[in-house]
Assembly symmetry: C2
Homo-oligomer: 749 residues x 2
């Protein structure tokens, strides 16, 4: 089954931190010892976190610094709101506007108040929540579609129904905590005027509810958690199995289809962390209330894998910014705070604790308490960042994200993007790559052209430049044919075609990933093989890149490399444009590139070296047919200064059907401004040589030391074939898709 | 007396950390208990650090983690060198070359070996030093002028004599520590063939020795410390009083003339930290050996003031990059590690300890031990970053550096550069300013165009762009007349003329600095008054800037503002050049500016807002005569990619004799990408109004809250005059040079 191609468009939501706790629908739990005198009967007892769990947090939380600090922070921010007084305005504004922001603050306050009531016993929190909810009880029944209604289904409290779902996910948790402290009459009013009609509204519209899309996950999480709290079995069932209870939609089906078997979410990590939140919150509620469902074990534990994937798809704390992504989003995002807490409680993996440390936050929940206790006991271990292939698609057969890694969290990481399109947030960058080293993005992805929530930048939504630049192929490090983007920039067409992963291998010294893309351009097939190689005569691992292109007619092939750093050496002759800076092209992103320098076409490998954060990077690149090297910078045709200005190198081959691009990127040396020294400023590689055999080719690196690194790559990825390629009289022979065949100085002589 | 206009040109020196210790020329100190059996008589005992002090460090050092760690680090790096074997090559290469770097490593090794011998008692260190020095004893007498001799006086071991001085400063300290462990014969050989002839060489050339310049300070420090070690009273005297011993030159005279009374050094902090090192090292040796000289009390303690000044002239750990400066140089520089240790030992100010903590290093010396002990006792207090006027010139009457500060180390800092030219390293930027906020440089200084020690960038020396761009006036935030730089770019002319400080005041809520510059351009006088103002209805302090220009003929006046951040709003209409980017001008730095946008000339104040690191900056600017607003970026005519590409706003007034530029820069709001919220994105200032009276003017800020901030500035800086300026019917009256006269919303109605 194909994923529903809906686009997730607005994310002005701050997910308040909280989650759900065990209860059974026929309560057999002992009567709790909550501080509230009103708690008299099981059917008002809290169910998302049990009274006993609350009690434990209330009595023990203060002993654990992380928990106590989080509580103090929550207290401080809520008290500020309480002092300001309750404000439940008639919905009027769109995202970012006053009424929108106020209703957001209100759900955060309801959650915080419920939590703090349980942790402190202070009835003032109950009174505050009750009064606010009674105001909602007056307001909500009067509401029709939001006046600024957006998308197919307008919300009632907010402009889009997604935000209404988020409101309910948060508010119901806060309500669960105070429910037994309310008078029966107040409960009746609040439930019949707010929570029930809200849940019914969310579930009533199949376009919202019966979907395989993360917006619908927010909706079913909201109604499902409400169902548990209101002891409404029917609502829980619908949430789990779809409004028709036929398992075509609903939460369980979403788990089965929205993640790949490896826990990858096709839009990429930026949206994965957002999509993940309702999955984990609702799953935690299910696990507590219906543990027999073994929800966290479903599909081989895919929800917990998805948490691990989110951390694995980050570098130095920030998510790989593939597709529409804001660059500064990372593992400290609130959604992943919830994720780490829940995953730790489920799996007990102490390596998650070091992520919690980086997040500097936790949940005021039983899971958060577990994290705080483990941290206090110094159990944290380093997170295990490791190379992996994350298969994409519900069956894991639609490409994948290849991650090559050496040297841990701030070492080398190469990301090859062989994934599905990523729906409306996908970029047109099949077989794109990113490279990280020394704590920095070195080969970069622009991410999204958007200033999230910055009103002055088109209200904070995606800018026009997101389409005209950020999504375009030329804004990425992959093949552009005839100045067009992949799929002619049509993401629905992109959804139909996925790359094919040829092979993936990750050893200590040799890590390699290869994939083929067909028909991103009609009649063009391109295969990219990249390797991260360690060698004792190199200071640091290097990246080999081999991009083989076959077309059915002569074309212009461009291969951009967006790099981060200050150019140190341009190792080729070029015409410069120092005094009038021309624009490279007219459309598909080319209109945003200034041209600074252009070499003549040539076939010899060239070099470009740059300096970034005290380290040198030498890029040595060549092609099978004569290529020009162009130095460009983003920022042309940008009168509103919406783009960052970033440099790129572009290799251009004209009038060929087939071409192979090959290169090596070598991090080396150190520039230390404090101690005023430089060492290793010279590359240790003398030459890169590509040699084509009958059915395979070899990339050979000749090191200054005399040693040679050789990588053989066969056209056929079959593990059995025998291959031979002769380079300068030496026959490299191997069997299978690829092989590393280094020679020492003595052997190479 | 005028400072000697020599230029300090090459700084490929890593100053090894070490210093000197007490001894008297007629040794009355008790026999030391050094581990060396060879120590038999007072006249070979160590004098730069006494045997007793070494003993104390040896026995106590390991108890203090900071000291122990430094020792371990030193040990590790020396052992690596010892393993590689001694290498004393015939001098051949210039700076950065192999023989140059080897001789540098050698003096570091000599110092480390002497230190470690004393700290561990291990004779292997003595043997290593001795063998190396005996090799120098063979080599040195054979040396004439260095084949790559640079500057007026070539060195012998190095290309420039400065490096020879630095060699001696370091090596003599190491030698002092091992001297009593050597045989009399080795001592005789080493002293007669290395140390004596080296000191004589340095002292023999008045162009090197008898100068008021920091190069000469290195020379006298080297000979003076050598004099103490060799018990050569004559050499010490020459070092202190000049080669003719007439007090015209020498160390004491250098102390009197090279620093201003406030401890400021005219080249600016980047060179101050370099110049300071030999002052402190030699002073420390003098203090120990001749405490009766009270060297640290000389000129009211100017040497210790200079240490304080170095820290005060930094922001978030990095020096203000005025004049030729590398941006990443800061308080962790090795010279200041020595400085903080010595200053702490002298003054015992616990606030220096927090600087030591940031440095993460200390000295293996009695002073370092004191720092380590104090840190272990948790004595560190925050350093007191405070507003101050640092007068410039030997008498403090040649301008100064005004620092306005609120909010501590990472709060707001405004630097107004009203200093002297700064000799050959000075930039042509009279009354330039810098602004810092939130841990970032917001209004920037380019610093030097140089990739220190990066061979591929012209051997690491100053690039041609340092002259063509970095030094030019348009590369700074100050007045440019007719596209010329100050003094027509002639620094010797610049040395003759200094700004005049009009007034300086620094209260909690109002800090203000004002200065006048005459004849940076013939016939042009300009006065700049800047204030940092706090107001309860503003989120953060704001900067007011008033620049009054009087010329004797009509001219083109440009006022650049180099800012750091991404433009959010351009609050004015402008012609854009999105498709062909022109260059702004042809010379004096203008050839390096691309033109992106240009408004028509107008008189109404305009705005420009940008976003930097989660904070918004709104700049509201106007002028008394119609001005164009130009948006530009550096990087034109830069075929070698030597320049960073940075944006600037340029206000341009044509054909006027007089003009006043006025503006307010307001930091506000917060963009949080992690939690996805923005607040305070709107400026709280509605208007800036400048009104001219008879002999004064008033800048009025009208806040969104209704309140008004008013600053009156009189033409005459006399404290007594009465002034009145009427703005919209309200008469602002004050006496003296300036006054802040805010009005609340009620009063302003």
């Amino acid at each position: 089954m194909r994923l529903q191609p809906l686009s997730l468009c607005s994310h002005r939501l701050a997910l308040a931190l909280a989650l759900a706790a065990p209860f059974t629908l026929l309560p057999t739990a002992p009567l709790h010892a909550a501080p509230a005198a009103a708690a008299r009967q099981g059917d008002t007892a809290p169910v998302l976190v049990t009274a006993a769990q609350w009690q434990q947090m209330a009595s023990e939380g203060s002993r654990y610094p992380w928990f106590a600090k989080e509580q103090a922070r929550t207290q401080k921010s809520l008290q500020k709101m309480m002092k300001a007084g309750i404000d439940v305005p008639v919905p009027k504004d769109k995202g970012g506007g006053r009424t929108h922001e106020q209703h957001k603050r209100n759900y955060q306050a309801l959650l915080a108040a419920g939590t703090l009531y349980r942790l402190t016993g202070d009835k003032a929190y109950v009174a505050y929540s009750r009064d606010m909810l009674l105001q909602y009880a007056k307001l909500y029944p009067t509401l029709g579609p939001h006046p600024e209604g957006r998308g197919q289904i307008p919300g009632r409290v907010f402009w889009q129904v997604l935000n209404d779902s988020v409101w309910l996910v948060n508010a119901i948790q806060g309500y669960d905590a105070i429910r037994d402290a309310l008078s029966p009459q107040d409960r009746q009013t609040i439930e019949s005027q707010v929570f029930r009609p809200m849940a019914e509204f969310l579930a009533s519209e199949p376009k919202n509810y019966d979907q395989i899309h993360n917006h619908a996950t927010w909706a079913v999480a909201a109604t499902g958690m409400t169902g548990y709290v209101l002891r409404d079995r029917e609502l829980v069932e619908k949430s789990l199995r779809g409004s028709r209870k036929d398992d075509q939609f609903g939460f369980l089906r979403q788990i089965d289809l929205l993640f790949s078997p490896d826990g990858y979410y096709e839009e990429g990590p930026y949206y994965q962390r957002y999509a993940l939140a309702p999955f984990l919150l609702f799953a935690n509620a299910i696990e507590r209330n219906e543990p027999q469902r073994k929800i966290f074990a479903r599909r081989d534990g895919v929800l917990l894998k998805a948490v691990d994937v989110l951390v694995q798809t980050s570098y130095d704390g920030l998510f790989f910014p593939i597709n529409d992504a804001i660059l500064d989003k990372g593992i400290d995002t609130e959604e992943l705070v919830a994720g780490i807490g829940i995953a730790y409680a489920q799996a007990g993996d102490d390596r998650l604790l070091s992520v919690a440390q980086q997040q500097k936050r936790l949940l005021l929940s039983p899971e958060g308490l577990q994290v705080a206790q483990a941290l206090a006991a110094n159990k944290a271990k380093p997170f295990d960042y490791r190379p992996m292939l994350l298969r994409d698609g519900p069956d894991g057969e639609r490409g994948g994200l290849a991650i090559l890694r050496m040297g841990g969290e701030r070492g080398q990481a190469l990301v090859q993007k062989d994934t599905m399109q990523g729906m409306g947030h996908g970029h047109f960058d099949k077989l794109n790559w990113l490279f990280y080293d020394n704590g920095n993005a070195v080969v970069t992805d622009y991410g999204a052209a958007r200033f999230l929530n910055v009103e002055a930048k088109r209200g904070g939504i995606y800018l026009a430049e997101n389409r005209s630049w950020a999504k375009q192929t030329v804004a990425h490090n992959t093949l552009v044919v005839n100045e067009q983007s992949h799929f002619k920039g049509d993401w629905k067409r992109g959804e139909e075609l996925a790359p094919q992963v040829r092979f993936f291998q990750a050893d200590a010294d040799t890590q390699i990933a290869s994939a083929t893309m067909r028909d991103a351009y009609p009649g063009v097939v391109f295969t990219r093989t990249q390797a991260l190689l360690r060698h004792p005569e190199l200071g640091l691992p290097v990246v080999l890149d081999l991009l083989q292109v076959h077309g059915d007619k002569a074309a212009r092939y461009d291969l951009p490399l967006h790099f981060n750093g200050h150019i140190v050496t341009t190792g080729f002759e070029a015409e410069h444009f120092p005094a009038q800076r021309p624009v490279l092209g007219s459309d598909n992103g080319y209109q945003h590139l200034w041209l600074d320098a252009r070499s003549k076409a040539g076939s010899e490998p060239r070099t470009l070296a740059w300096l970034l954060d005290g380290r040198f990077y030498t890029y040595r690149f060549g092609s099978s047919a004569p290529a020009q090297a162009l130095l460009v910078e983003s920022g042309a045709n940008d009168p509103e200064f919406n783009l960052r200005r970033e440099p790129a190198l572009l290799q251009r081959v004209e009038g060929q059907k087939d071409v192979t691009f090959f290169s090596v990127l070598e991090p080396h040396g150190e520039y230390n401004g404090t101690a005023e020294y430089v060492h290793g400023a010279d590359s240790r590689i003398k030459q890169i040589i590509r040699t084509r055999g009958n059915d395979a080719e070899v990339l050979e690196l000749r090191l200054a030391s005399g040693a040679r690194i050789a990588l053989g790559v066969a056209d056929d990825s079959d593990a059995k074939g025998e291959h031979s390629v002769t380079v300068d009289g030496h026959a490299y022979r191997w069997s299978g898709s690829h092989a590393r065949m280094d020679r020492s100085k003595g052997e190479a002589r």
